[in-house]
Homo-oligomer: 213 residues x 2
């Protein structure tokens, strides 16, 4: 059966995004230094060959264990789910060939026709909540897995309905001080995880957890 | 020169202590399930031979890399610093031979004579703030290192004066949902760290960071 997984970057102090990284300040990466903070958080991924190719950042880049991990994450994904804020940011920055190559379900109150991109990504706009989006994603994914991309509040919603099988966190040593926390707003009856594996690199510690049995 | 270090357990969602773990609820570990949460957070340490012996929990226990790490942490420590809440909890639960075996400086507004324990631990009550406590601890530690024991708000104070050289975090996979966060109330000009080493075990991931050069 398909697994539902999260694969994100996290600052040492638990933020998925620094303060200031929002539509309002998108054009001003100096605002609260959010651009530099984000660059440090994601430094490890920005230099991987697979990531650079997928985002059309240019050729070259590192190959190796981390790059293979990125390819595996993409290849296992049969569908994605994300929030509207993440989509809005992505809509401005993804290349025309959006980097998902699967159906992606966007949680939103906005009604909008599916947005078909070259290369296999289609964004569907879901107005009926996280359970409905997951149902649609499961159907679309077939035997492959479902990636909950973010942002933090979307991951929290899926943790709170105990729908997350695997948590993959690239913990970077940077402290943000403020921003959007991953772990907050969790219900008292929250799911529990156990350590699956850990891969350390100089830039980030890749922590994998699976739901506790 | 002596290093100033932190060595603590942290929940996956960033808490040093679960909600309810305070003097008021100390006698009732069922309150918000804090006793079980704490037990899971610290499960890895509770079964180590060195820790059990030091806390007089009884003989036996695991020996190996983690146990050696605990011994190393104790042997490198020439002085400690802790907050009043941590001291108050410890005063009720440490054995007569308190488990530090060094001078320990307690940040407090309370005026109190030094409390000398058998086995080398003496608690000094410092009313003049964290810088003064650190000055006293440095003198006492000699060539050995200074451990900032906690709680969270004490570590935050030392992060904010950029006095922490090394952060050692045993990240346990448990989610608490609420409690006392380690990383909050940090100033904008906070220190930055880099990964030193990582040791993974089934119970916790031992993350070591040093101040970024």
């Amino acid at each position: 059966m398909s697994k539902v997984f999260v694969n994100i970057g996290l600052s040492l102090d638990g933020y998925m995004a620094p303060e200031g990284m929002d539509i309002e300040h998108w054009e001003n990466p100096d605002y609260k230094n959010w651009g530099a903070k984000w660059g440090t958080l994601m430094g490890w991924i920005l230099k991987q060959q697979y990531f650079r190719e997928n985002l059309q950042f240019g050729s070259g880049g590192e190959t190796g264990t981390v790059n293979d991990m990125l390819r595996h994450t993409m290849e296992r994904s049969g569908a994605g789910i994300m929030g509207k804020r993440m989509f809005d940011a992505g809509e401005r920055s993804w290349p025309e060939e959006a980097p998902f190559h699967t159906p992606v379900y966007v949680l939103t109150h906005e009604q909008r026709e599916p947005w078909v991109r070259p290369g296999g990504t289609t964004f569907f706009f879901v107005n009926d909540g996280p359970e409905r989006a997951l149902e649609l994603a499961r159907k679309a994914a077939g035997d492959r897995d479902i990636r909950i991309s973010g942002g933090a509040n979307v991951i929290q919603q899926y943790l709170n309905i105990d729908a997350i099988d695997e948590l993959e966190i690239a913990l970077a040593p940077i402290l943000f001080g403020s921003g959007r926390r991953l772990f907050e707003n969790l219900h008292e009856a929250m799911p529990q995880f156990q350590i699956d594996k850990v891969l350390n690199t100089p830039d980030a510690t890749h922590l994998s957890y699976v739901r506790a049995s």
